[in-house]
């Protein structure tokens, strides 16, 4: 059986993706519930730390946001390596989506760190190695997003930003190790260290809940951003004819 097309309208290079009715995924609903549960547990059911006082509770949102930012930029690097190797634009969309979400989480890390620093250190900001490197990481990925916006050609945009995405992620191990490599004001890791976590169980459980809920929130945001990237590419393909 043959099918005859009476139109000369060409199919777009990127097929229009399947749509969800509202655009809100189950991941979002789970993320909102998990983050709300974290807030309730941290505010009402987690004891105050005796020396730092209530400001210590910033701990449940600060390193968890930093973890998600590192995860996001790690994904950028892996997807970028994959793109340079395979030239698959799907991987470029993954990198682009993870980078944008990572910048949001890094922004939150910097702001919440500053809000913790003022009552504990007596200053909003200090040019400490970890803080400075984290700010530098933020600038690199903001630059990555600006670069993407500045290049019209799809292939060139993907190639250039892949290189920057990989280079930026090289900072992540240095940021993690900066408290060991330099004399810094930033506290040593309490959980992410070779020995056992030095937190009481109640605080550790709240931290674990925050860790899981922020990771779920990342997945929800990343999926939504990736869907946007697919639909935007489909629109660009349609506009190009």
């Amino acid at each position: 059986m043959t099918t005859q097309f009476t139109s000369d309208v060409r199919a777009p290079a990127v097929a229009s993706p399947q749509r969800t009715r509202s655009g809100i995924s189950w991941w979002f609903i789970v993320a909102v519930i998990a983050v709300a549960a974290t807030y309730i547990r941290a505010i009402y059911f987690t004891p105050l730390e005796a020396i730092q006082g209530p400001a210590q509770k910033i701990y449940y949102v600060h390193p968890t946001s930093a973890w998600v930012a590192f995860l996001a930029f790690g994904i950028v690097a892996l997807a970028s390596i994959g793109y340079l190797w395979l030239k698959d634009l799907k991987l470029d969309r993954v990198a682009e989506s993870a980078a944008e979400v990572g910048v949001v989480f890094t922004s939150v890390t910097l702001v919440t760190g500053s809000l913790w620093g003022k009552p504990i250190w007596g200053t909003w900001w200090t040019w400490d190695a970890r803080l400075t490197l984290t700010l530098f990481l933020w600038f690199i990925y903001v630059g990555y997003l600006v670069l993407r916006g500045a290049i019209e050609d799809r292939e060139m945009r993907a190639r250039y930003s892949a290189v920057l995405g990989i280079l930026g992620a090289l900072l992540i191990p240095f940021i993690h190790l900066s408290v060991y490599l330099f004399r810094t004001l930033h506290p040593m890791p309490i959980i992410g260290k070779p020995s056992r976590p030095s937190l009481p169980n109640e605080m550790l459980e709240t931290f674990a809940l925050a860790f899981v809920s922020f990771t779920i929130l990342f997945i929800a945001l990343f999926r939504a951003r990736y869907r946007l990237a697919i639909e935007r590419d489909a629109l660009d393909a349609q506009e190009r004819g």
């Binding site: 910033i58 809000l115 629109l235």
Partner: protein, 47 residues
Amino acid sequence: MPHNAGYYHAAYIIVAVVYGAYALSLWLRLRAVRRKHDQGSNGVRVD
């Protein structure tokens, strides 16, 4: 114990506002792209 609850209240509010605003921006951008896409599709005449 120091009285510094204001800082953690501010941090929790900022976290909720930033992530909420970003999620909303994604939804609005997606809606705008879909609207443009639909307008483009409707504009194509298939004879």
